[in-house]
């Protein structure tokens, strides 16, 4: 191994780097917690903890001013693993240390796995309503639905990240290009022509022809949500760069469906909360919301649902209540809330492939500590016996 490599390994595996990373993590948690006052939990989580670098101002071109949560975790992982590569000794006296460090590695990897792949969404069901998907209320997608098929519709969805980037979007399923003219993360809508507000309609077709859009600050409070709005135009795939006539305002809220014809087929346009398909369908049989007698304080929420999974020939009724979630095929469904007037249920749907990591990590750390303590305690007893 060259001298330079040895120096690099020494620096990367040093205890000083561990202390720097843990200190940086403490600062990040402190600053990130304060930032939630103005920035809201969801934005701050992405910006501070689920990123490699914290940028200031908060744009991709902003100056990186501090390591983000992901970078700190990755450096800690490298630090821990290189220390083992350099100083690994397979002796009984060290097994406990290895297990404790192994547990820490599992926890750090589990944290990254959760950040990368976990999906949290909600399912709203009224009695007898069936759904095979859950929605993420924090983000949206543009759905272009081709409705000419006899039994099926073809739904092409464009995620919010692409809409926010703007410009042209193409896909083999679309016979046209989608040109994003503007995208607002949070918007309010006023009737054009009203004195003192924007007089120009947001678009020329559909609901946008009679609505003006005003951009507002993204929602930060937990009980608020953004109402995203995009103005789009369609353009032919090839040939001239000429846009098709008209533009559409799409809003992530139920206003009314907007339809158009292209190439002899009918299309519908929706901006909607991002949908996550589930490997099963749920039908709400009943929902109960019990209160403590004489008060409005909730005692228990529970939903009786029919779980149907054709691929596994599964069809059974299950109850989901506050501390009794449904776990099925890697998806956990919790009782989360209820629709106004108890008219239905709100279920939280979580898919987290790293959910076992904290349990496994804690188990390894626990076993390691017991081993380490027990081994040294046994040695101490043996020495005492010898001296006696």
């Amino acid at each position: 191994m060259s001298k330079a490599m040895r120096f690099l390994l020494g620096a990367v595996s040093s205890l000083k780097l561990t202390v720097v990373c843990l200190s940086a993590a403490m600062v990040l948690v402190f600053v990130g917690t304060l930032a939630q006052v103005d920035g809201g939990i969801h934005d701050v989580q992405k910006r501070y903890f689920q990123s490699l670098l914290v940028h200031w101002p908060d744009t991709p071109s902003g100056l990186p001013v501090f390591p983000g949560g992901h970078l700190i975790i990755i450096v800690l992982l490298v630090n821990l693993l290189t220390a083992h590569i350099r100083r690994f000794r397979w002796t009984a006296a060290k097994i406990g240390i290895h297990l404790i460090h192994g547990g820490l590695v599992v926890m750090l990897l589990g944290a990254l796995l959760t950040d990368f792949f976990a999906v949290e969404s909600t399912m709203r069901l009224s009695p007898d309503q069936t759904s095979g998907y859950a929605e993420d209320q924090q983000s949206c997608e543009l759905a272009l639905v081709e409705t000419s098929g006899k039994d099926f519709d073809t739904v092409t969805t464009i995620p919010e990240s692409l809409l926010e980037r703007g410009g042209e979007i193409t896909d083999s399923s679309l016979p046209f290009r989608v040109v994003v003219q503007s995208f607002r993360r949070n918007a309010r809508f006023v009737e054009p022509g009203r004195p003192g507000v924007e007089s120009k309609p947001a678009a020329t077709r559909g609901v946008g022809a009679r609505t003006a859009v005003v951009g507002v600050r993204p929602a930060t409070a937990m009980n608020e949500r953004n109402v995203q709005a995009a103005v789009i135009t369609l353009a032919p795939l090839s040939g001239s760069n000429e846009l098709l006539p008209g533009s559409w305002l799409t809003v992530n809220d139920a206003i009314e469906p907007q339809t158009f014809s292209y190439g002899g087929k009918t299309w519908a346009l929706f901006l909607r909360p991002t949908r996550h398909d589930l490997p099963f369908r749920l039908t709400l049989r009943s929902f109960t919301h019990d209160l403590y007698p004489g008060t409005q304080i909730p005692k228990n929420f529970s939903s009786r649902v029919l779980l149907a999974d054709q691929t596994h020939n599964e069809s059974r009724e299950v109850s989901i209540s506050m501390n009794r979630p449904l776990r099925y095929r890697g998806v956990t469904v919790y009782q989360s809330g209820f629709l106004p007037g108890d008219s239905g249920t709100i279920l939280q749907v979580v898919r987290n492939p790293g959910f076992l990591a904290p349990y496994l990590g804690c188990l390894l750390v626990g076993i390691g500590m017991v081993w380490q303590f027990g081994y040294h305690f046994a040695g101490y007893l043996a020495r005492r016996r010898r001296t006696a």
């Binding site: 191994m1 693993l81 990368f116 739904v155 092409t156 969805t157 990240s161 896909d171 809220d253 007037g341």
Partner: protein, 206 residues
């Protein structure tokens, strides 16, 4: 390759994968699905299921309660409309009922009335002629509601769905509330009684 070099290579690969995953976390692409016909594709409203029959009393996140006739079909609220209903009549005729609130004076009564008149291709009014057009105000627990009633040309040329507006304007000091019944002229006329009663049931939660 020695054991140390192999370990370092594996570590470098792990770091590259983790950094790559972190950088690409929010870079999703376009997705295509085939779904059975009839599955709703639009946003699901938060306050109530789409097209559900109107409850006798509603209280969504808008903080407004009302008592709507059972024949009115509740529509999803929108950023502009705090409450919205659909009234279906014979031969496909229909009317829409809506409640909109706007801050302050919202431009004044005359400006708003003239905007509605323009939508029905009617000439604008001045202050004097507006006073003649106003119907006797409706006394409600919320205050005095000014009522106007216009019949004109349907905005999109479909008389089954448009042609008449009966609207109420309520000044609440810090905001103006607009109650609007708009649609097929005959159906709008037949629904006027229910509409007026409904205005009287609307309450704003503190």
């Amino acid at each position: 390759m020695g054991r140390g070099a192999a370990s370092i290579t594996a570590l470098a690969l792990l770091v590259a994968v983790l950094v790559g995953l972190s950088g690409c976390k929010d870079r999703e692409g376009v997705k295509v699905r085939r779904v059975a016909k009839g599955e709703p594709q639009g946003p699901v409203p938060e306050a109530s299921p789409p097209m559900a029959p109107a409850p006798s009393s509603s209280s969504g996140e808008s903080g407004i309660t009302d008592q709507a006739p059972a024949s009115w079909q509740r529509q999803p609220p929108s950023p502009l409309r705090k409450l919205s209903y659909l009234i279906s009549g014979p031969d496909g005729t229909r009317c829409e009922v809506s409640l909109v609130t706007l801050g302050g004076g919202a431009g004044g009564t005359l400006e708003n009335v003239n905007r509605w008149r323009t939508q029905l291709s009617l000439p604008p009014l001045d202050d004097t002629s507006l006073q003649k057009e106003l119907k006797p105000p409706l006394a409600t627990p919320l205050g005095k509601v000014l009522i106007v009633d216009f019949t004109g040309r349907p905005e999109k040329g479909d008389p089954g769905r448009d042609g008449r507006i009966i609207a109420g304007i309520l000044d609440r000091g810090n905001e103006t509330v607009f109650f609007k019944l708009r649609g097929n002229p005959d159906l709008t006329g037949r629904s006027e009684g229910d509409f007026v009663k409904w205005i009287g049931t609307v309450r704003f939660q503190p």
